[in-house]
């Protein structure tokens, strides 16, 4: 089975270090994009990426192994990791694709799970990245970890090139480990099951961290849990969609009823 090259070429190519650096870079940025800056920027980005990479590789391996254990081909894991590049939803996508969920349901679920990225535009330093190709790739590969590593205090002086290199490294870790996991997954003996719990464990960790970030706003997770339980009981076939809709409606209702108080987050 070969992936149509047209599909692959439609996508922005990862081009973190285009040979032609635009001469019109603003003066404040130009020192960091001098011709000699290339390798050291890449090396610095590699250091930046190491911690997140330690997390990406085992999860990518688990994702690839789970994809092939679920009956998908190894290249599908690579395709998903390369093009979708959104770890948490990709795990869900395995289940949706293997149960032949409608494409509209996939789109809506992808929207709900990934809608958090909308808010990354508020602080991701896209203005530091020069060139159309660079900006295109930067938005394409704007995963949670890329956002976290480029918006923190320590990243304030990072150049656009360093950011692009970081994103490319993260992208490569994810895609490479997904393919490796898919190819190695067939070596897992038949009696060994339960790898799919990696997804549950991941959402457990993400939920714990996100709830902690709310600093005591317990009604929010409570509303989410109630929405999930109600959706499970009332709409078992479309639990995810129903739960997201109920939760959004509940949050909006709460926002309207608590009046014009400024948010405290």
């Amino acid at each position: 089975m070969n992936i149509s090259p047209a599909v692959a070429e439609d996508r922005p190519r990862p081009a973190p270090a285009p040979p032609s650096v635009s001469p019109s870079v603003s003066p404040s940025v130009s020192p960091s994009v001098s011709p000699s800056a290339g390798p050291s920027e890449a090396r610095a980005a590699f250091h930046d990426s190491a911690g997140a990479g330690l997390g990406f590789v085992p999860l990518g391996l688990a994702f690839g192994a789970l994809a092939t254990q679920s009956g998908l081909d190894w290249w599908w894991a690579g395709l998903s990791a390369t093009l979708a590049f959104g770890g948490s939803f990709e795990f869900l996508l395995i289940g949706m694709v293997t149960t032949a969920a409608p494409l509209a349901a996939i789109a809506l679920s992808a929207f709900m799970v990934n809608v958090r990225h909308v808010f990354y535009a508020l602080s991701f330093p896209l203005h530091r990245i020069t060139g159309r190709l660079g900006k295109t790739y930067a938005t394409f590969a704007l995963c949670d970890e890329a956002y976290a590593l480029t918006t923190g205090k320590q990243a304030r002086s990072h150049s656009g090139r360093r950011i692009l290199w970081l994103q490319l490294f993260l992208h490569l870790y994810w895609a490479g480990s997904a393919v490796a996991g898919a190819l190695l997954g067939s070596l897992i003996p038949d009696g060994v099951t339960g790898l799919d719990f990696a997804l549950t464990a991941m959402f457990t960790v993400l939920a714990l961290d996100a709830v902690r970030d709310l600093r005591g706003d317990l009604p929010t997770p409570a509303l989410a849990l109630l929405s999930a339980l109600a959706a499970r009981l009332l709409f078992p076939g479309q639990m995810l969609l129903a739960a997201f809709a109920l939760f959004t409606a509940a949050l909006l209702a709460r926002h309207l009823t608590t009046g014009r108080k400024p948010t405290h987050a």
Binding site: M1, G194, L195
Partner: protein
């Protein structure tokens, strides 16, 4: 393997939605920043969505079956490790390892 074209279409739909969510807001920054409602949702959505996804993962837990103990024990390991060490990778790997061991041995189907 489901139909190949469908499986690819699923990835492309996901990629289009995800990229749209990542790229389009840069073109619409000002109204986003201004909206009180968007700010309200943006601070609360992530936690709620994760809680819902966790519930979704556990949706088919057979509550009357001994096999349920494997995911519940693994869940306890994950939460316990995470509250203790706050290391996401350790919690995920520890919980998954506990589940694989339990589901493949004691609670093997």
């Amino acid at each position: 393997m489901p139909d190949t074209r469908y499986a690819i279409a699923g990835v492309l739909v996901t990629a289009a939605v995800t990229w749209g969510l990542r790229a389009l807001p840069f073109a619409a920054l000002t109204p986003l920043r201004a909206s009180r409602t968007v700010q309200y949702l943006s601070t609360r959505m992530p936690a709620g969505v994760m809680v819902i996804l966790l519930a979704y993962c556990l949706r088919d837990l057979p509550l009357t079956h001994a096999r349920t103990l494997a995911p519940l024990a693994a869940l306890a390991v994950t939460v316990g490790l995470h509250l203790w060490r706050r290391n996401a990778l350790l919690s995920i790997l520890g919980g998954t390892a506990a589940h694989v061991v339990l589901a493949s041995t004691v609670f093997a189907p």
